[in-house]
Symmetry: C2
Subunit: 119 residues, 2 copies
C-alpha cells in the first residue's frame, strides 16, 4: 500500500513488449510497458483493455481504422476487437486490464509473457 511514481517505475526496465505490474485493484492490474516496433494482431475475447500513453506516440491499429495516441491520451479496446499496437519510436504506456489478460490475447505465441512480475 505505497504510492507509485510512474516515471520512476519505468526506469526499472528497458525491454519492449514486456509489461510489468505496478498495481492491483478490483480484479484488475495496472501495468506499465515500453513499446517499440509492431506487435501482433490479437484480441481478448472477454477483456476490455485500456492504453494510456505516458510518453511518445502509440498507434493502435484496428481492422477498420487507426487510433493514434499522444501523451495524455487513452483508448479502450473493447473485448473481442482485433488490434495491433505499433510504435515507430519508443512509447511508454500504462495499461489497465483484468488480471487474466495475456499480452497476446486469446492465443499464446512466442511473444506471450507468462508470470508477469511486479515492480
Amino acid at each position: 500500500m505505497e504510492k507509485v511514481n510512474v516515471v520512476e517505475k519505468l526506469r526499472l526496465f528497458s525491454d519492449h513488449w514486456h509489461p510489468r505490474i505496478v498495481g492491483e485493484l478490483n480484479g484488475q492490474f495496472v501495468k506499465l510497458a515500453k513499446l517499440q516496433g509492431e506487435f501482433d494482431w490479437h484480441r481478448h475475447a472477454q477483456e476490455d483493455e485500456l492504453f494510456l500513453v505516458v510518453s511518445g506516440t502509440l498507434t493502435i491499429k484496428l481492422r477498420d481504422r487507426d487510433v493514434t495516441l499522444e501523451e495524455g491520451e487513452f483508448f479502450i479496446v473493447p473485448s473481442g476487437v482485433e488490434h495491433k499496437p505499433v510504435a515507430a519510436t519508443e512509447a511508454h504506456v500504462l495499461l489497465f486490464e483484468p488480471k487474466s489478460t495475456l499480452n497476446t490475447g486469446d492465443e499464446r505465441t512466442q511473444r506471450t509473457v507468462e508470470d508477469l512480475e511486479w515492480i
Copy 2:
C-alpha cells in the same frame, strides 16, 4: 470507441469534488475530477479506488498516515480503508473504480454525486 485526451476533457468542467466519467471497461469507470479543499472521511466497503494525479498535489489522509501524490503518481486505496482527500490548491485527478462506487463511500451525504455524467 473514441480516444480520450485527458487535458481536453478536464477543460469541460470546473467544479470541485464532482467526478465525470470518461471511460468504461470491465465493470469499472475511468473518471476525472478537480479537487480543492478538504473532502470528508469515507470508505468503500467493497471497492478499491485508484487516484492518479494529472496535475497539482493531492494528499490522501489515512487514519495512520498521509500519502502525498504529485503529478504522475498514483495510490490505490484498498476497500474498507478510511480516507480523506485533501488538496491545498486545485488538483486534477484520474480515478479508476467500480461502476458502483459513490464519491462519498458507503454513506450518502450532501456531497454525494448521484447520476454521474459522461463527458
